[in-house]
């Protein structure tokens, strides 16, 4: 299961103890560095440049010329700050929900099923099973399950948890549920990876010292699973903040729109490349700052 280990490790691994010398590494590095330069660094540069473009005077829609028009950022933010803030709020709620749902799953697989390798393996397969069906098909399945004429709405209306005209789709609730659902495995796998390394004798030691299960969890299990929790929250939060599939399939377009949807619409519907690029730059910068601050606070720099 090195696939899971790879996901769980989050890029870690100890530094090489005895490092080879020589210039051989140049040939190993060259293809990757060239590729990532051409298809990552330069495009991000192109994005930065495009975010400062101005329309060609008297030109057609979608024609822009190079400039240093910083006002684009002010305009983009003053127009779309609600969607930007909403993206971070939705992503944060979905991350917490993933932690609340995913931690018991990881705990059961890693601690309760310990020693029964077949059961463990089967439960892990169930966790990664969603990866094998297209995530868009699964999101649309949710849309139909939660639809107004679907079984869930009928049941909730019957027990009066939902007013007779209440609905689940096209609400913020549906969007957050969709985000939680889609990124749940990314929380379970890293938490599982760190709980699996937990020595069961530590838990027994807690019980021996008359700690209640809650105290044992709070002082032993949780701190030792922290690297997995930090990795999992990052793996959920980052894609959730930029996602627009859930908000466009499960939300309505007015008060659930997320920033990804805006960037997509600016690029393809309005051909407003500078605004779309400026919003992308802001999103990327905000996420990098949050990640850097979070990782530093959590004290798990070695995770990266």
């Amino acid at each position: 299961m090195s696939l899971l280990a790879g996901l769980g490790a989050g890029g870690g691994g100890p530094a090489p103890k005895e490092r080879a010398r020589g210039a051989g590494h140049r040939w190993l590095l060259a293809p990757g560095l060239v590729y990532l330069t051409v298809f990552f660094i330069v495009p991000v540069g192109a994005l930065l440049a495009t975010s400062l473009y101005v329309p060609v005077p008297g030109g057609e829609l979608g024609q822009y010329q190079p400039a240093l028009h910083w006002q684009n950022y002010v305009d983009a933010l003053s127009q779309f700050w609600p969607q930007l803030v909403r993206s971070f709020v939705f992503a944060a709620i979905a991350t917490l929900a993933c932690l609340a749902i995913g931690y018991p799953m990881a705990y059961v697989i890693a601690v309760r099923a310990r020693g029964r390798s077949l059961l463990q393996g089967l439960l892990l397969v169930l966790v990664i099973a969603p990866f094998f069906t297209s995530f868009i098909l699964r999101t649309i399945a949710w849309k139909q399950i939660l639809a107004d004429e679907g079984p869930v709405v009928a049941a909730l209306r019957f027990v009066h948890l939902l007013p007779p005209d209440g609905r689940l789709t096209a609400t913020a609730f549906a969007v957050v549920c969709g985000l939680t659902y889609n990124f749940l495995p990314f929380m379970v796998l890293p938490v599982y990876a760190s709980l699996e390394r937990l020595d069961p004798r530590m838990l027994e030691a807690g019980a021996d010292l008359y700690a209640s299960p809650v105290t044992t969890f709070r002082t032993v299990t949780w701190p030792l699973s922290l690297p997995g929790v930090v990795g999992g929250t990052l793996l959920v939060f980052i894609p959730a903040a930029g996602d627009y599939v859930n908000s466009s399939l499960l939300g309505n377009n007015t008060n659930t729109a997320m920033i990804g949807q805006v960037i997509d619409a600016r690029f393809f519907k309005v051909l407003d490349y500078p605004t779309a690029s400026a919003l992308s730059v802001v999103l990327m910068a905000a996420i990098l700052l949050l990640v850097a601050g979070y990782v530093r606070r959590a004290g798990t720099e070695d995770l990266l």
Binding site: P31, F39, V42, M105, L234, G260, I263, L283
Partner: protein
């Protein structure tokens, strides 16, 4: 931080420990079971509706039929989109696996100036939202007036797959015992022979896992593909675009088929490794 830094409990631990019953003992498995159901409901729904005797849209259940499975290409474009996704996935996986494995070897085996910078460069695409990666590549393709299509999609997929390959393979390289390669050198193997006959076979499971991971990432990618594909259609894009006018049940057939095929591969691998572990133990 690891479990070994804590106090070590010595001696044998009595197995029959008097322990009061706690709510958590029963509650946690119940919570986990509910979570597993939550995870699997839409998959069951997708598979069930691949057997729906649907008309134009596959929204309501109208009765069981085999006909969608007998004719999975019955809806226009669905098989073309599926074939496109398969070819993008295979080509992107091959390129990303080779480039990423080389990069992982360099990072795990060599000390060189700028190693932290390379690590950062590998980490950055993973910590950038897909919509930003897609927009950045599109901004570049637009300014260079590159025709969007199969190759722009492949180029984009290789880019985000490389990082995942590096992470997966690097973990495997770090777990290798360098003594094995030294032993080969002691037995007068050239560095190339030592790599090819000793290191590479040991890395192969990690490389295979990385390739599987990057194929599944590429096959299921929608956001970056949507930005860089022009009129070229992949399977996720086909499903997303047809969502507004109704998804044909054939899309559910293909989704279910991929699910069953992948599940079968993973289950067989699990059972084989379980049986092997048992044989070794016994």
């Amino acid at each position: 931080m690891s479990a070994t830094t804590g106090p070590v409990v010595r001696g044998t631990v009595p197995t029959a420990r008097r322990r009061s019953w706690h709510l958590g003992d029963a509650l946690i498995p119940v919570l986990a079971a509910l979570a597993f159901i939550y995870l699997l409901v839409p998959i069951v729904y997708t598979v069930a509706f691949s057997f729906n005797d649907a008309g134009k849209s596959n929204l309501v259940w109208r009765g069981f039929t085999w006909k969608n499975w007998q004719n999975p290409c019955g809806a226009p474009q669905v098989c073309e989109a599926f074939r496109n996704s398969l070819s993008v996935g295979v080509v992107a996986t091959l390129i990303a696996t080779v480039i990423g494995t080389l990069l992982a070897l360099a990072l795990a085996r060599f000390a060189f100036r700028g190693r932290p910078a390379v690590n950062l460069l590998v980490f950055l695409p993973m910590s950038t939202p897909e919509v930003v990666l897609g927009a950045a590549l599109l901004a570049q393709f637009l300014s260079l007036r590159v025709q969007l299509g199969f190759w722009t999609v492949v180029a984009a997929h290789v880019m985000f797959c490389i990082s995942f390959v590096v992470v997966t393979v690097k973990a495997r390289v770090a777990g290798l015992d360098p003594a094995l390669e030294e032993a080969a050198a002691d037995l007068y193997a050239s560095p190339f022979q030592a790599f090819w006959r000793v290191t590479f076979p040991l890395l192969l499971p990690g490389i295979a896992a990385a390739a599987l991971l990057s194929f599944s990432l590429s096959f299921d990618d929608f956001i970056i593909t949507n930005f860089n594909s022009g009129s070229f259609t992949t399977f996720p894009k086909f499903v997303y675009v047809s969502a507004t006018r109704g998804i044909p049940p054939q899309a559910n057939v293909i989704g279910s088929f991929m699910f069953v095929a992948a599940l079968a591969i993973v289950l067989v691998a699990q059972l084989v490794s379980h049986a092997r572990g048992k044989r070794r133990a016994g």
